[in-house]
C-alpha cells in the first residue's frame, strides 16, 4: 500500500527552483532516505510534505487523500510527524514537560481547561516511557538548557514520537551527534521503523546504506536517481553528481 505520494511537487523561491517536479512514492513500512548535498532541497521538500510551506506546483497524496494545502497541524492529526534539522523544542520547559505536552497533544487532551495537569497519570507515564526510549529518562526533571546538543536532538525525536505518527520525516536526525549518540539514535530509528514509515535525510552514507530500504537522490531540486542502497552505490549518475570524486 502506498502511504505517501508526491506528484510533480515543486517550490520556487524567486528564480530558484528549490524543489522541482519531485514525484515520490513510499510504501507503508518502508524506510526511505533522501540524500543530496547541502542546498539540494531536502528540507524544502520536507516542508512541502508537512504543510510548513505551500508548493508552487504539484500535489501531496497521503493515504490516498489529496492533502496539498492542508495546514501543518491538520496533517499531524492525520498521522504525519516530523523532526527538524535545527532542533525545535520548548527551551524553557523541562525535559519531561516537553514530552508531556507532546503526549497530551497527541491524545487530544489539550482542550481541557480545568483538570490539573497532575491528574493525567497515563499521559505522564507515557511521557516517561518515551524519555526512556530516547535515553533521557534520567534527565526528565532538568531544564532543556542543561542538555547537550545530542541530547536535545534526542528530545526533538522524542517529541515527534510522542504523537505516534504513521509517517515520520526525520531531517538529519544525527547531525552534530557524537559517535556513541549517533549509534544509539540509529538503533532507535531502526526500532521506530518497525511500526512506522520513515522518510529521512542524512549526510552519513554509512547510516543511510545501513538503515534505508530505498534511497532517492536529490540534486538541485530534482530526483536524479532512485533505488536500493546497492543500486545507488553502483549508479554512475549519482557517482558523478553526488558521490563525486570519491567514486
Amino acid at each position: 500500500m502506498t502511504i505517501l505520494e508526491t506528484r510533480k511537487l515543486s517550490r520556487r523561491f524567486g528564480a530558484l527552483n528549490a524543489v522541482s517536479d519531485v514525484s515520490l512514492s513510499l510504501e507503508a513500512g518502508e524506510v526511505r532516505a533522501i540524500i543530496g548535498p547541502n542546498g539540494a532541497g531536502k528540507t524544502t521538500l520536507f516542508n512541502l510534505i508537512t504543510g510548513k510551506l505551500a508548493p508552487t506546483g504539484g500535489k501531496v497524496i497521503f493515504e490516498g487523500a489529496d492533502v496539498t494545502g492542508v495546514p501543518a497541524h491538520a496533517l499531524v492529526r492525520r498521522g504525519i510527524g516530523r523532526s527538524f534539522q535545527i532542533t525545535n523544542i520548548f527551551p524553557r520547559l523541562s525535559v519531561f514537560e516537553n514530552i508531556l505536552v507532546g503526549v497530551l497533544a497527541g491524545r487530544g487532551k489539550t482542550t481541557n481547561l480545568f483538570a490539573s495537569l497532575l491528574s493525567f497519570e497515563t499521559e505522564a507515564a507515557e511521557a516517561r516511557e518515551i524519555l526512556d526510549r530516547v535515553e533521557l529518562g534520567a534527565k526528565a526533571g532538568l531544564p532543556v538548557s542543561a542538555l547537550s546538543h545530542g541530547e536535545r536532538r534526542n528530545l526533538e525525536l522524542g517529541l515527534t514520537l510522542a504523537l505516534n505518527p504513521r509517517l515520520i520525516l526525520l531531517d538529519e536526525p544525527t547531525a552534530g551527534m557524537s559517535v556513541e549518540e549517533t549509534a544509539s539514535t540509529v538503533a532507535l530509528i531502526r526500532r521506530v521503523a518497525q511500526s512506522a514509515t520513515v522518510l529521512f535525510t542524512e549526510h552519513d552514507m554509512g547510516i543511510v546504506f545501513s538503515i534505508a530500504d530505498n534511497i532517492s537522490v536529490l540534486h538541485q531540486g530534482s530526483i536524479i536517481a532512485e533505488g536500493t542502497p546497492e543500486e545507488i552505490k553502483g549508479n554512475r549518475t549519482v557517482q558523478v553528481a553526488y558521490l563525486g570524486e570519491e567514486a
Binding site: 508537512t50 510548513k52 495546514p71 501543518a72 497541524h73 491538520a74 499531524v76 492529526r77 510527524g81 516530523r82 525545535n88 523544542i89 520548548f90 527551551p91 524553557r92 520547559l93 523541562s94 519531561f96 514537560e97 508531556l100 505536552v101 507532546g102 497530551l104 497533544a105 497527541g106 487532551k109 489539550t110 482542550t111 481541557n112 481547561l113 480545568f114 483538570a115 490539573s116 495537569l117 497532575l118 493525567f120 526533571g141 531544564p143 532543556v144 538548557s145 542543561a146 517529541l159 510522542a162 504523537l163
Partner: protein
C-alpha cells in the same frame, strides 16, 4: 550550578503543575491577612486603597495570561477594564439593578469584544500584536469619549450603585459600605484568581506556555495555535472585564480615562515589575505600584518619574521582576543551608 538554578527560577522552568505549590502557604497566608485586615485597621482610606489594589491585581493577573504564559504583549488591556466597567454600569442602571447582572455583563461584553477583535489581533505577533491591541484600545477610548448618549462622553457615567446582594433569596447583604465592598471584591477576585490558576495549570495552560516557547513546534504537535491564542485572548479579556465590573461600583463613577492607553501601559508595567514568570507576580506588582503612587503623590505629583526609575532598575537588575528576584535569592539561601 548557580547559573543553572537561577535560569530555572527566572525562566519558570519548574514543572508546570507545581510552580505554585511552594507559594501555596504564602498565598494562603496573604489571603488570611487580607481577610483579617479590616478588623485590624479601621482606616477607611487604607481600606479603599486595598480594594483598588485587589481589583487592579485581577487586571494585572489577567494580562499576564497573555504576557507571561502565552508570550503575547498586549498594549491595550485597559480596553477590557473599560468595557467591563461601562457594561456593568449600563446593565445595572438600565437592565437590572443587581451586582450579578453587572458582573455578568462585564465578563460577557469583554469576552465578546475580545473574540471580535482577537480574530484580527491574533494573526500578528510581537511588536505588531502590541501595536494592533494599542490601536483597538484607542478606538474604544474614542467611542467611549464621543458616544455621549450611551457612555456620557467625556463626563462618563455617575451614580453607579452597589446593590445589596441576596444570598439564595434568604438574606440580603449590603456591600454599599467600604468594608462590605472590600470583602465582596476580595471574594470575587480570589475566586477569579483560583479559576485562572486552574486554567493555567491545566493541559490547555501547558499548551499556552509551549506556544510562548515555540509556536511553530506546537503547530507540529497537531494543534491549531491560532485558536489557542484566541482562546487565551478571550479568557484574558473576560477576567480583565470582570476587574472593570468590580471597579465601576468601587469608584462610583467611570470615564473614558479608564480605557486610555496610559492605563494599559501602567498595567503592563505592574505586570513586569511584579514578575511575569510567577502566577501571583503581577498582583505583587500591582500592590507595589499602587502603594508607590499613593505614597509618592504625597510629596510630588510627578510620581511616574519615580515609578519609571524603579522600573528601569528592575529591568536592569531583576529581569524576573520582584517575585523572580526574591525566589532566586531564597533558592540561593536554601541551597547554601542544605550544603
Amino acid at each position: 550550578m548557580k547559573k543553572l538554578s537561577d535560569a530555572a527560577v527566572s525562566y519558570g522552568s519548574r514543572p508546570i503543575a507545581t510552580s505554585l505549590v511552594n507559594g501555596k502557604t504564602l498565598t494562603l497566608a496573604g489571603f488570611a491577612a487580607a481577610i483579617a485586615y479590616p478588623l485590624l485597621d479601621g482606616n477607611l482610606y487604607n481600606l479603599q486603597l486595598f480594594t483598588e489594589i485587589i481589583i487592579i491585581s485581577l487586571l494585572a493577573l489577567s494580562l499576564n495570561i497573555l504576557i507571561g504564559y502565552t508570550g503575547l504583549v498586549s498594549l491595550g488591556h485597559a480596553a477590557f477594564l473599560g468595557i467591563g466597567a461601562y457594561a456593568s454600569t449600563l446593565a445595572m442602571q438600565h437592565v437590572y439593578p443587581s451586582i450579578w447582572a453587572g458582573l455578568t455583563a462585564s465578563v460577557l461584553s469583554a469576552g465578546i469584544v475580545a473574540l471580535a477583535i482577537g480574530v484580527f489581533c491574533i494573526r500578528l505577533s510581537g511588536l505588531y500584536f502590541a501595536m494592533i491591541t494599542l490601536a483597538f484600545s484607542q478606538a474604544f477610548y474614542t467611542i467611549a469619549f464621543y458616544w455621549d448618549s450611551v457612555t456620557g462622553g467625556d463626563d462618563g457615567l455617575i451614580g453607579i450603585p452597589r446593590p445589596d446582594i441576596s444570598l439564595f433569596g434568604l438574606t440580603e447583604i449590603s456591600i454599599d459600605g467600604f468594608v462590605g465592598y472590600y470583602y465582596f471584591t476580595l471574594v470575587i477576585v480570589a475566586l477569579a484568581a483560583y479559576l485562572m490558576w486552574r486554567i493555567l495549570n491545566s493541559p490547555f495552560g501547558a499548551i499556552l506556555k509551549a506556544i510562548r516557547e515555540n509556536p511553530e513546534r506546537v503547530e507540529f504537535l497537531g494543534l491549531p495555535v491560532y485558536r489557542y491564542k484566541l482562546a487565551a485572548f478571550i479568557i484574558s479579556a473576560a477576567f480583565g472585564g470582570l476587574a472593570g465590573g468590580l471597579f465601576a461600583p468601587f469608584q462610583g463613577f467611570i470615564s473614558p480615562e479608564l480605557l486610555y492607553w496610559t492605563k494599559s501601559g501602567e498595567t503592563v508595567l505592574m505586570t513586569i515589575l511584579g514578575g511575569i514568570h510567577s502566577f501571583l507576580g503581577p498582583a505583587v506588582g500591582a500592590t507595589v505600584l499602587i502603594f508607590l503612587r499613593d505614597t509618592v503623590l504625597n510629596y510630588t505629583e510627578y510620581w511616574k518619574i519615580i515609578v519609571g526609575s524603579i522600573l528601569i532598575l528592575c529591568v536592569l537588575f531583576a529581569p524576573g521582576g520582584i517575585v523572580g528576584f526574591i525566589t532566586a535569592r531564597l533558592s540561593e539561601i536554601f541551597k547554601g543551608a542544605s550544603k
